[in-house]
């Protein structure tokens, strides 16, 4: 199907055709949830940390204008060059213009979900610029020519044998090699060459500190650092919401981030960048791309508190059984489903419905975003705007008719029970989606209402 008609129901139907693979995907991601739980339960004040982080982010969003000005001023005084990008297109143009100015045709990039959001790689490729993704997971999906399926674990949907095949095809390892040590060593050598040769490195930003104008990048591989410290130009891109007021609050977020993301106590590297090294240029691109609009939506602005840990994804029972690609968006899972409709309500109308409202995402979110509440609210907005699925709209109107009238409800119940009892073939068909994997419920001897009335002598 084309990207225009991609929707979660159809994509997850396809994903579920291979049940063994679904089991593997589900168990792999649940294992991370289990690791996260272990890490969180080691911190007795975990819930206090969450609450504190949530309140800090609430404060940031409520005073974002001043914090942005403070950050820009401080960063500039540290020798950093600041750029502002209203949207994805402007972000891409700014980065391209920096490459052009320096005559650079090859760039190394560390993990940045923002570049996925802006489709930077595709844009630069069309301008003849080679981009190498240095995060190992991202490099794997880049070689496989696929988008990442998870914001922290981009190739979690790939088994090691599949990764072995990709490395054999592109990096010259032995066919059938799937030993993780060998694969990692191969990747390390391949990426090392890249780091040593590239003049321009792009990194994301995990946290930007308004008070000091510095920014923090957290990686397990040190790839952001290798790229930045060997390049003549370091570009860091960030969404305008990624601010933290003061340096001391960083501790709250660093204690929450990696435990939530992977169950580790902290990433291998948490690097603070303040001033360019001698002879180097450092640029920061501050990106809006719909964030200021989301800020104005009272019901949905909390989604801007997100620190991109990815916990909502591995805890989501729907995500684990449908895979990141079924959300047809760089940010998948629950957080993707509340951010994407803001950018394109029509294209992403299916996402808030790809949810069972179990609330696990909300309970696991380190900054206490009310994710499942927002998913519910988005549904109402989408239906009002007319983007809901046509069948569902008709179905819901019918249900509304039946459920809002006691007489209609009782009649519908009687008819339903009669059909199930006397003409089961009418409901036990392939047109009844319930029946695909489930038997219909057996009709009761008497409806609950009659039983209750009799029992309590109301008849």
């Amino acid at each position: 199907m084309s990207a225009n008609t991609a929707n979660h129901v159809e994509l997850s139907d396809i994903f579920n055709e291979d049940e063994q693979r679904v089991n593997w995907h589900d168990e792999t991601l649940w294992w991370i949830r289990a690791k996260r739980d272990k890490a969180a339960f080691k911190i007795p004040e975990w819930e206090l940390l969450r609450d504190t982080a949530s309140q800090i982010k609430n404060n940031v969003l409520s005073d974002l204008h001043n914090y942005l000005i403070e950050f820009e001023t401080k960063a500039k005084s540290n020798g950093i060059i600041i750029h502002w990008a209203a949207d994805a297109a402007e972000h891409n143009k700014i980065i391209y213009s920096l490459l052009l100015r320096k005559g650079v045709k090859q760039m190394v990039k560390s993990k940045s979900m923002l570049t996925e959001e802006c489709h930077l790689n595709e844009y630069l490729a069309s301008q003849g610029i080679e981009v190498i993704d240095s995060d190992l997971g991202e490099r794997i999906v880049q070689l496989a020519e696929e988008p990442p399926s998870h914001i922290v674990l981009p190739c979690i949907h790939k088994k090691k044998e599949e990764i072995g095949e990709i490395f054999h095809k592109h990096l010259g390892t032995e066919a059938g090699m799937s030993d993780l040590q060998v694969l990692t060593e191969t990747a390390r050598i391949h990426l090392r060459e890249t780091f040593l040769n590239r003049k321009l490195a792009l990194t994301g930003v995990n946290f930007a500190i308004a008070e000091t104008g510095e920014f923090v990048v957290c990686t397990n591989e040190g790839n952001a650092d290798m790229g930045a410290h060997l390049a003549e130009i370091h570009i860091a891109n960030m969404g305008i919401e990624k601010l933290v007021p003061n340096k001391k609050q960083l501790g709250v977020f660093l204690r929450l981030l990696t435990r939530s993301a992977t169950g580790q106590p902290i990433t291998t590297y948490s690097s603070h960048f303040k001033k360019p090294r001698k002879g180097q240029e450092v640029h920061i691109v501050l990106v809006d791309n719909g964030r200021s609009v989301q800020l104005g939506r009272a019901d949905f602005r909390n989604s801007l508190k997100c620190i991109r840990c990815g916990a909502c994804m591995y805890t989501c029972p729907v995500y684990r059984r449908s895979g990141g690609h079924s959300y047809h968006n760089a940010k998948s899972g629950p957080i993707g489903a509340i951010l994407a409709p803001n950018l394109d309500m029509k294209k992403y109308a299916d996402l808030p419905f790809a949810c069972i409202l179990c609330g696990s995402c909300t309970h696991v979110c380190p900054v206490k975003i009310d994710i499942h509440d927002q998913l519910y609210k988005w549904r109402q907005v989408i239906v009002k705007e007319g983007y809901a699925d046509a069948t569902k709209t008709v179905g819901m109107r019918l249900m509304n008719l039946v459920l809002s009238s006691p007489k209609m409800y009782r009649l519908a119940g009687k008819i339903g029970r009669w059909f199930i009892q006397y003409i089961p073939s009418a409901v036990n068909t392939k047109y009844n989606l319930w029946f695909k994997h489930r038997e219909m419920p057996a009709p009761p001897k008497q409806p609950f209402r009659d039983w209750y009335k009799k029992r309590h002598c109301l008849i």
């Binding site: 579920n16 739980d37 007795p44 029972p317 069972i356 309970h363 489930r438």
Partner: protein, 99 residues
């Protein structure tokens, strides 16, 4: 809400523990969603059915004779159990508390 770092509490469990001669079995995933969800059960049928299957499997492999729930999801799990001809029965919690 096993995600939260707080003392465990479950209202339905508290009520069930007051029933004579009942034995509550532990599950591998204590509070994962069963996948019923309302219109979700047909709107996202593939995922709903898979969630239901997995939930049922967790109960069956931990040796339960009855699965109980506090909402209409009992129909969803019962439907799956019946489809595979299982002897595990399903009861709404009201049915247990009413005995």
């Amino acid at each position: 809400m096993s995600e939260l770092v707080e003392p465990f509490f479950s209202k339905p469990l508290q009520l069930l523990n007051m029933v004579k001669d009942i034995q509550i079995m532990d599950l591998e995933r204590p509070d994962e969603c069963c996948g019923f969800g309302g219109t979700f059960c047909v709107a996202e049928e593939a995922v709903s059915a898979k969630m239901g299957k997995d939930r049922v499997d967790d109960h069956v492999k931990n040796g339960v004779e009855y699965i109980t729930s506090a909402d209409m999801s009992c129909l969803h799990m019962e439907g799956i159990l019946k489809r595979r001809g299982s002897s595990v029965k399903v009861l709404h919690i009201a049915g247990i508390l009413n005995t």
